[in-house]
């Protein structure tokens, strides 16, 4: 508001400036002119300073900004059918669909390292633990608030399920669960699957599975 008012004043004040310099000042008292001229100049300068320049709002499109130009009001345009972005040529069936020869794959498309598992844990805790719970028991926060509970990952059917099935559920959704394809990229989906496998192992582990060097810390933690 203030800016608009100042803007109007600025525009109104501009034509006055050349006029004033071309005409001799008519004040008979010198002190008055001395006091007023710089004063007026300062006021003008301050008001001009409040003017908004075009650089403030440029005719460019910012992400998710609305658009008057397109019918649906969106500046973000859908991708033209058939476009292939760099790295998106989906020739690797296993990596992008979780299937090999049409059936859910049992193997992973790349070797899983410790970093992959850490990344999988991070992604799982962002996108999945809300409903499936931090340990995969299906009792996450949103379920406690009334969302239909998903099955626990530790039931036999899901323990036997091939890795490709989990990939497919994340990619395409399953029953009441929505797809997470737009938010989790294929590589991260596989890392999440690897982490779910780790969760499944953890719930059915025995002390004998733990490396000897680590057993001591476990015993300490249990007490």
């Amino acid at each position: 508001m203030l800016r608009n008012v100042a803007g109007i004043v600025c525009v109104a004040a501009r034509p006055l400036r050349p006029l004033r310099s071309s005409r001799p000042l008519r004040f008979s008292r010198r002190f008055l002119s001395r006091a007023l001229a710089p004063g007026a100049a300062v006021v003008c300068a301050l008001l001009l300073g409040a003017c908004r320049q075009d650089m403030q709002v440029q005719p460019k499109i910012l992400p998710l900004a609305e658009s008057q130009f397109f019918e649906d009001g969106r500046s973000a345009r859908p991708v033209v059918a058939g476009t292939v972005a760099r790295g998106q040529l989906r020739t690797d069936e296993l990596l992008f669909t979780g299937k090999s020869n049409g059936a859910d794959a049992v193997q992973f498309p790349f070797a899983i390292t410790r970093q992959d598992l850490e990344r999988g844990r991070e992604r799982y805790n962002i996108y999945c633990s809300l409903c499936h719970g931090a340990s995969g028991d299906g009792q996450g926060m949103i379920v406690q608030r009334g969302f239909p509970p998903p099955p626990s990952y530790h039931i036999d059917r899901l323990r036997q399920a091939p890795a490709g099935h989990f990939f497919d559920v994340i990619t395409n959704g399953y029953g009441t669960m929505f797809s997470y394809a737009s938010r989790v990229n294929p590589q991260d989906r596989w890392r999440i699957v690897a982490y779910i496998r780790a969760l499944q192992l953890s719930q059915n582990g025995a002390l004998a599975d733990v490396p000897v060097a680590e057993r001591q810390t476990l015993a300490g933690g249990a007490q």
């Binding site: 203030l2 008292r29 002190f31 008055l32 001395r34 006091a35 710089p38 004063g39 300062v42 006021v43 301050l46 300073g49 650089m55 403030q56 709002v57 440029q58 460019k60 910012l62 992400p63 998710l64 609305e66 649906d72 009001g73 969106r74 805790n125 962002i126 996108y127 809300l130 926060m141 949103i142 608030r145 009334g146 969302f147 239909p148 009441t176 669960m177 929505f178 737009s182 938010r183």
Partner: protein, 216 residues
């Protein structure tokens, strides 16, 4: 020869000299105050939204991670706002009858976007990028305040140049460990400066005060 000026002119001239100095200082103070006031900076001004979406509820009480909705914040300049489908991952099944969620359901049915009111913004001549700040250990609350306690979103900092520069000059006063960036319950330790200096070295944080960093 008669006097051109009366005696009273002395007082008047003195008055005008001091008065002018006072006027300039007062104007400066007023401009400064207006510039810093919520009237211009929008700090602490709560915006009406088409749906009364509460971060306090979702991010605070339910503990949903920022990235569940602001998906692109780690990889791009733009934090991103959630598409309606993201709300529907949960609201297809819970609070399905709530009147306040009707705009969300309508948007999902019709495919028309919900038009959120912008809260934080820098002018178009400024380049800002989220991803670099998160990678170098600047947490969301450092810039956006306690979002996880906001029933409706407001702006917590002025987003003016001085504010940006304050941190760019001395990042060690604000940075935190990378794994704490998304946490709303992080409290800086008592010896923030010691931690900050260590992190500045570890993450190789530069002090970017060159104009072309932000005006490019």
């Amino acid at each position: 020869m008669t006097q051109v000026f009366k005696r009273s002119a002395n007082t008047l001239s003195r008055f005008s000299i001091y008065g002018f100095a006072f006027f300039v200082i007062a104007m400066g103070a007023v401009i400064y105050a207006v510039n810093k006031s919520p009237y211009l900076t929008d700090v602490n001004v709560i915006r009406d939204q088409p749906v009364p979406f509460s971060h306090k509820h979702h991010a605070g009480e339910l503990g949903i991670d920022c990235r569940y909705c602001h998906t692109s914040v780690e990889e791009s300049s733009f934090a991103g706002l959630p598409p309606t489908a993201t709300c529907m991952t949960c609201h297809s099944r819970i609070w399905t009858n709530a009147q306040m969620l009707e705009p969300v359901r309508a948007s999902y049915r019709s495919g028309k976007s919900i038009e959120w009111t912008r809260v934080n913004a820098v002018p178009d001549f400024v380049y800002f990028n989220h991803s670099i700040h998160l990678k170098k250990g600047v947490g969301c609350p450092t810039c956006h305040g306690p979002v996880a306690e906001m029933p409706l979103t407001w702006r917590a900092n002025t987003m003016q140049m001085q504010w940006c520069i304050d941190c760019h000059r001395e990042p060690e006063r604000y940075v935190r460990p990378r794994d704490q960036v998304f946490r709303s319950d992080y409290h800086p330790p008592a010896d923030q400066l010691a931690l900050g200096r260590r992190l500045v070295k570890e993450y190789k944080i530069q002090k970017l005060t060159n104009c072309s960093t932000c005006h490019r």
